[in-house]
Symmetry: C2
Subunit: 134 residues, 2 copies
Amino acid sequence: MSAVETVIGTTSSWDLYERGCPSRDLLDRIGDKWSILVLGELGEHGRSRFTELRNRLSGVSEKMLTQTLRALESDGLVLRTVHARVPVRVDYELTALGQTLRAPLRALTEWSLQHTDEVLAARAAYAARVEQGA
Amino acid sequence: MSAVETVIGTTSSWDLYERGCPSRDLLDRIGDKWSILVLGELGEHGRSRFTELRNRLSGVSEKMLTQTLRALESDGLVLRTVHARVPVRVDYELTALGQTLRAPLRALTEWSLQHTDEVLAARAAYAARVEQGA
DNA sequence: GTAAGTAGCCACCTTTTGGTAAGTTGACCA
DNA sequence: TGGTCAACTTACCAAAAGGTGGCTACTTAC
């Protein structure tokens, strides 16, 4: 059987540890740098326009932003609404599915913010150890 | 001021939405495909050897596995122990810091497993829509 | 004496990713 | 007449990621 118990009481037909597993690909996608930030922004600010996102995500290029938004839309996480007035106006917001990702993602971003100092310290210590050892 | 409230009651000196933010880099690192899987494996199985990990992470190359483990070690998330017997034996396990990542990461992998079907359906629908629209 | 096993490293090469910059659409404004 | 705005799209190019295969050291087992 290919079903795997990841946590007691939870079964799924997918196995993250198998190559080509769609869940693994999905994980890779939502773990993507810009995806995380876009989803975070839309989660916090709600419906936003393209330029708003571009301005709030420091360092993102238009190309990357478009690409990320398209992927998220295709995955059913983000809803894209085009207003046919001039100039064109486009809104992005989380779908219901996208909303379910907020908690897990926030847990991760929170962890990252809270432990950055420790990690930076660990890196410094590691670099020092390597310098010594070598 | 550069401090930012991410969640009520939580402050940090970092801002994920600023380019060059170390937390953003860190997030990118732990959101990495192989990092997630290695941390997951070590979280579930506990202390493991190099070849055990290689065998359990279907599709990983030795190069990638080494690279990922080194990065996690340098970040203070994984402890690497070399036993100087012959043939060499090396163990990897989560550090205390690494343990604190288990919950957030599990939340994300769980989400991924549970919603893969919905996302696949959304992708199919999106592809159909594009085909129609174009 | 030689093959096997562990835990890698290194050089080479291909694929993918991502940045920059320019073009597009279509109404409206000076 | 031509410049502007929003939200892209496209082409081109550089950088980075990642795969492959060969090499290492050391000892035990055949």
